[in-house]
């Protein structure tokens, strides 16, 4: 068994418990233990790009440093956590001023300068487990199911910091869908924004954006949509006006591995 440091983030402990539980049980079945650091803080949900914002980046650095001290890679599942933590890691490894100020404040035993390797869970499946190995462990394949992967904005961009996949023509989620026996559906809006936090104050804009995503997936004949992001799931389900089902990718993973029943007991 491999052990990785795991950062669930605020929403996986509250409104997105399924995303978390299926991620953990599936990882274990694939030979990886996901272990939380002893304490962690919310990442803040959005990365602040301003050059003179340091306080808003501290929680991400604390998490990154916890993984460094444990000598393990850091795994995230939520798209927002993944985005914030990877952008922080990218910038602190290149921006001396930022690293100086943050380290000056944190007073860690050893300064943090971007040493930790960060994987999104999907990258862990691709680069550590391997989609071929995953496919061999599938007991309930999604045969004949047309599945639309929704990347949204946070998984891929900005690509120079996230370095997960081609930001305009990604394949990682489609390869995941193939590994669990489904048929990926390619549609125009798969990497466009769902409206995100605008749902707080402008439901009409959230409805317009998430509706465009769901219509695009429906037009290409999708049976369902999968996402890694709790806020995407919320917008696509509650604001889009579409009845096409939306699931966390980890739920399909657990089902494919024959773990879903056990999870629900």
């Amino acid at each position: 068994m491999n052990t990785f440091t795991y950062y669930p983030g605020c929403t996986l402990r509250t409104k997105a418990k399924d995303l978390d539980a299926y991620a953990r049980s599936s990882a274990e079945a694939l030979g990886i233990i996901l272990e939380e650091p002893s304490d962690w803080q919310c990442c803040g949900g959005a990365y602040t790009t301003a050059t003179n914002e340091n306080a808003t980046k501290l929680s991400a650095v604390r998490t990154l440093n916890a993984a460094k001290e444990l000598g393990r890679p850091l795994v995230t599942v939520c798209s927002a956590c993944h985005n914030v933590i990877k952008q922080t890691n990218y910038d602190i490894s290149r921006d001396e001023q930022m690293a100086f100020k943050i380290n000056n404040y944190l007073k860690l035993d050893e300064p943090y300068n971007g040493e930790t390797t960060v994987y999104h869970y999907l990258e862990m499946l691709r680069d550590v487990v391997g989609f071929n190995n995953l496919a061999q462990k599938v007991v309930n394949p999604f045969k004949g199911k047309k599945i639309a992967a929704y990347y949204g904005c946070l998984l891929l961009r900005p690509s120079k910091a996230l370095a997960m996949d081609d930001p305009e023509n990604p394949t990682i989620m489609e390869d995941f869908i193939k590994a669990i026996g489904g048929t990926p559906v390619i549609y125009a809006q798969r990497n466009e924004c769902c409206g995100g936090y605008i749902t707080m104050e402008d439901k009409a804009q959230a409805a317009k954006r998430s509706g465009a995503v769901m219509n695009s997936a429906e037009d290409q004949g999708a049976d369902m949509v999968i996402t890694a992001c709790p806020l995407c799931l919320y917008n696509l389900k509650k604001n889009s006006g579409s009845s096409l089902p939306v699931y966390y990718f980890t739920e399909l993973l657990a089902e494919a591995l024959g773990l879903k029943e056990a999870n629900n007991e």
Binding site: G45, L154, L233
Partner: protein, 127 residues
């Protein structure tokens, strides 16, 4: 034109607005285009011209979704979202100018709204 404010926004953004060649691709790809009074390419242009106050008073500041589409797709690597962010910070960092206050939150909640939405909105709209 307020030179000091312009300098502050440019420094906060870390962007070289002079790289912009006005192709408009950022605005063409912006998911909030229809909701904005000033569009991403105008943010870049108006910051270059020092026309900052108009932007600071515009509701366009709160329509940016931070999706980084304009950052990814700019052929000159200008990164317009960073300019929008810098102007928004110049606005909300002013005393009493938060766009979202905690008392407003209870009315915005429903049983499914993820915490992620609330913390993200706070980070974008409040100092």
């Amino acid at each position: 034109m307020n030179k000091n404010l312009q300098e502050q926004v440019i420094r906060t953004s870390g962007v070289n607005v002079l790289k912009c060649m006005r192709c408009g691709k950022c605005s063409g790809t912006c998911p909030s285009y229809d909701e904005m009074e000033y569009h991403p390419h105008q943010f870049v242009y108006m910051v270059e011209k020092g026309d900052i106050e108009k932007l600071m008073n515009s509701k366009s500041l709160y329509k940016c979704l931070t999706c980084f589409a304009c950052v990814e797709r700019c052929p000159r690597n200008v990164e317009p979202a960073k300019v929008v962010e810098a102007v928004r910070l110049a606005a909300v960092r002013q005393q009493g100018n938060n766009h979202l206050i905690p008392d407003q939150i209870p009315d915005m909640l429903d049983d499914d709204l993820p915490q992620q939405a609330i913390v993200t909105a706070f980070r974008k709209y409040t100092k």
